[in-house]
């Protein structure tokens, strides 16, 4: 056993962090929120160049093969830098199409996977019942080139994004995309492929939530070291320290669950990781908001980019309730 990232994996995470740290991602996220997708697509292309969107695409379709552990590293970085766009959904769409190909239906995979892997195509997807609880909306369907809708044992490519619904996070644009347009596949293999895609979406969302929590902690640590009241930095106060210590504990105990889930892809382990990462991310948001005080409650402060994302990510692709039920089902 060696439950540690190897040098290459650490380097991959470092590279992405450096790339995103230099990309003014808050400005990209704010543009995305206004409906200006141009800076977001430029960033997307750079992430694709770094290999992010090839991590869920088999090599025969110009991907890197299925690399769930690297995927969690990438999505932790995306969350940490508040990167907007349907990244989870693109990964899940890739998995869905790759799984269909494995089950003998290669046409949609051939048409789309190379584009998704190299970043020239953005994808989103949603599910009609019974999996609707996990994916009722197609994220950023207005920006996506491929809009997939799973309806029972049918897979549709929707022509229209459909009606928009606002999210608490303005960088997340939700659409109730209808199962109309081109029927890409039909049969029991669609449900099987969708199940696998949902698992990867849950894993990637957990990683993103963890990254969001980490960013919130880092920004808040920076703030309480600078902010002075009663003549001293507020970070000297135990009430402040202990709250942040608890955030670090929650994040640090969530990450091993995430990595273990990526290693096994076991549904119970993925559910465990999603609960822990989602709750830790949201706990980080609560602490960040409280310790910033009134300025943290403003839209203007960049902190809001993460604060408003933490709760939606906690609930997207597997609510805590649904994931706990999965854990108990064994």
């Amino acid at each position: 056993m060696r439950f540690l990232l190897d040098a290459e994996q650490r380097e991959f995470a470092r590279t992405l962090d450096a790339l995103l740290g230099a990309a003014d991602t808050p400005a990209v996220a704010r543009a995305w929120s206004r409906g200006d997708h141009t800076p977001g697509r430029v960033l997307w292309a750079r992430l694709a160049e770094a290999g992010v969107f090839a991590l869920a695409v088999p090599e025969e379709f110009d991907g890197a093969g299925l690399l769930p552990l690297e995927l969690t590293l990438a999505f932790e970085a995306l969350g940490r830098h508040a990167v907007p766009g349907p990244a989870v959904e693109t990964i899940a769409s890739s998995l869905l199409l790759a799984s269909l190909a494995e089950l003998g239906d290669v046409v949609p995979a051939k048409a789309w996977l190379p584009r998704l892997a190299c970043g020239t195509g953005l994808a989103t997807l949603r599910a009609d019942a019974p999996a609707a609880l996990r994916a009722p909306y197609a994220l950023d369907a207005d920006a996506a080139d491929l809009r997939l809708v799973v309806a029972g044992d049918q897979l549709w490519r929707a022509a229209e994004a459909g009606a928009a619904v606002a999210s608490h996070d303005p960088a997340r644009r939700l659409f109730a995309t209808a199962a109309r347009g081109e029927l890409l596949a039909a049969g029991p293999h669609v449900a099987a492929a969708a199940e696998r895609a949902w698992a990867w979406a849950t894993l990637a969302t957990a990683a993103q939530a963890l990254g969001v929590g980490r960013a919130l902690l880092e920004r808040t640590v920076g703030y309480v070291r600078e902010r002075r009241q009663f003549g001293v930095a507020i970070g000297t106060f135990q009430a402040v320290k202990h709250r942040l210590a608890d955030v670090l504990i929650a994040l640090e105990f969530a990450r091993p669950l995430l990595h273990a889930a990526a290693l096994s892809l076991d549904p119970v382990e993925i559910a465990m990781a999603k609960v822990a990462c989602g709750e830790a991310g949201w706990a980080a948001a609560r602490a960040a908001l409280q310790l910033h005080g009134a300025v943290g409650y403003t839209e203007e402060l960049d902190l809001s980019l993460w604060l408003r994302k933490a709760r939606p990510l906690r609930d997207a692709w597997g609510t805590p309730a649904a994931c706990r039920a999965r854990v108990l089902a064994g």
Partner: protein, 379 residues
């Protein structure tokens, strides 16, 4: 990155499992915090030691099996999964022995470790004093130089296991009045039955004498029972906090077994929906703690030191342990009140977790200052 144990570790697991299946008492032993239970647990230590299972991570010459940290973790998983008794020798094994390995002499190790491994000598810890709890370095008990050794005087308290143990270890001030409180301290071992020692057992919350006050009046300790150099006691006591002790104070196996037990009880209670989320969280927390420990053990095996992150560990398991027990008690309904209930003793014990081994307030200070880089402030 992988989570698969080597085949050699798995065969070690199988060997441990087979031995435990043959030897673990069918009925739980009486509470180790009673005279009768203490004796029963001591006999169990001897039974473990007879087949070299009491201190698997020690070198063979002291009664161990030279097991590395992964084997130790696997042994603990099997130990608690088998429902084996609590370890009455844990103060000695977890706190004193690592200090002897790092700072003791070969003579001390050869003399002290084998009887510890066999349960013949049970050790109590003697850190806290009435005026020195979290601020341990302010301690005032004295070690005064005498011919061939030291004379210990003063008062120690909250001394776990001291009511029935043979010996104790702790810090004493050999040179008062130095510039900093953690200077001039010496790490000593002493006999609880020596002339000048008075042991007054203290009933913990459930009345059992789990700890004691120690009154020392010119208790003679020979030089051979000083660990490290006189005056270096603080460094000696603290240095082992940074090694695997940070990982081994509470093994994940214990919580994995408890969480499984809780889940089984929840099943037997028609999966009471009111407690469902907390049962799920107990399963998730046990797995998280196991994986966090595996990650730390992997870093340790790769040669990294375990530093202040052991504080993350301590807060996590102590809070987790209470939450798990609260869920278990809630499943019992009004019978949770019964002091003879299936979770009663371990629940009472869990309540002490956030207090001992460095309170969780001190641990959170360490986390904030050393891991997050926040400025020091008043405690």
């Amino acid at each position: 990155m992988d989570l698969a144990h080597d085949p050699a570790v798995e065969s070690f697991r199988a060997e441990a499992r087979a031995w435990l299946a043959d030897h673990v008492p069918a009925a739980p032993l009486p509470s180790l915090e009673t005279r009768e239970g203490f004796a029963a647990h001591r006999a169990w230590e001897a039974e473990l030691a007879a087949d070299r299972w009491s201190v698997v991570s020690w070198p063979e010459r002291y009664g161990g099996r030279g097991a590395d940290i992964m084997r130790w973790l696997v042994f603990e998983e099997e130990y608690y999964a088998a429902g084996a008794p609590g370890r009455v020798s844990q103060n000695g094994i977890n706190l004193l022995a690592p200090t002897l390995f790092d700072h003791g002499t070969e003579e001390q190790r050869a003399r002290i470790l084998p009887p510890m491994a066999r349960g013949e000598v049970i050790w109590a810890q003697a850190w806290s004093e009435p005026e020195s709890g979290s601020d341990l370095a302010s301690l005032r008990s004295r070690a005064v130089r005498t011919d061939g050794g030291w004379l210990l005087s003063g008062q120690k308290t909250w001394s776990s296991r001291a009511a029935f143990a043979e010996r104790a270890f702790g810090l004493f001030r050999n040179e008062p009045g130095l510039a900093k409180p953690h200077l001039g301290l010496t790490y000593l071992m002493f006999d609880l039955h020596a002339p000048g020692v008075t042991v007054r057992p203290i009933g913990r919350l459930d009345g059992k004498p789990a700890f004691a006050e120690l009154f020392l009046d010119e208790v003679f300790v020979p030089d051979e029972d000083v660990i490290g150099a006189p005056g270096e006691g603080w460094r000696v006591a603290m240095s082992t906090a940074g090694n695997e002790r940070g990982l081994t104070l509470r093994s994940p196996g214990r919580f994995l077994a408890a969480a499984r037990r809780l889940a089984a009880q929840w099943d037997a209670c028609d999966r009471d929906p009111a407690v469902a989320d907390r049962v799920a969280d107990a399963l998730i927390g046990a797995r998280a703690y196991q994986l966090f420990t595996y990650a730390g053990a992997s870093r340790f095996a790769a040669g990294d030191a375990i530093g202040p992150e052991s504080s993350l560990n301590k807060v996590f398991w102590s809070e987790y342990d209470i939450a798990l027990h609260e869920a278990a008690l809630d499943l019992l309904g009004p019978d949770a009140e019964r002091a003879d209930g299936p979770w009663a003793e371990s629940w009472v014990f869990s309540l002490a977790g956030p207090i001992y081994a460095g309170t969780n307030e001190i641990q959170r200070d360490i986390i904030a200052e050393r891991l997050l880089g926040l400025p020091k402030g008043r405690r």
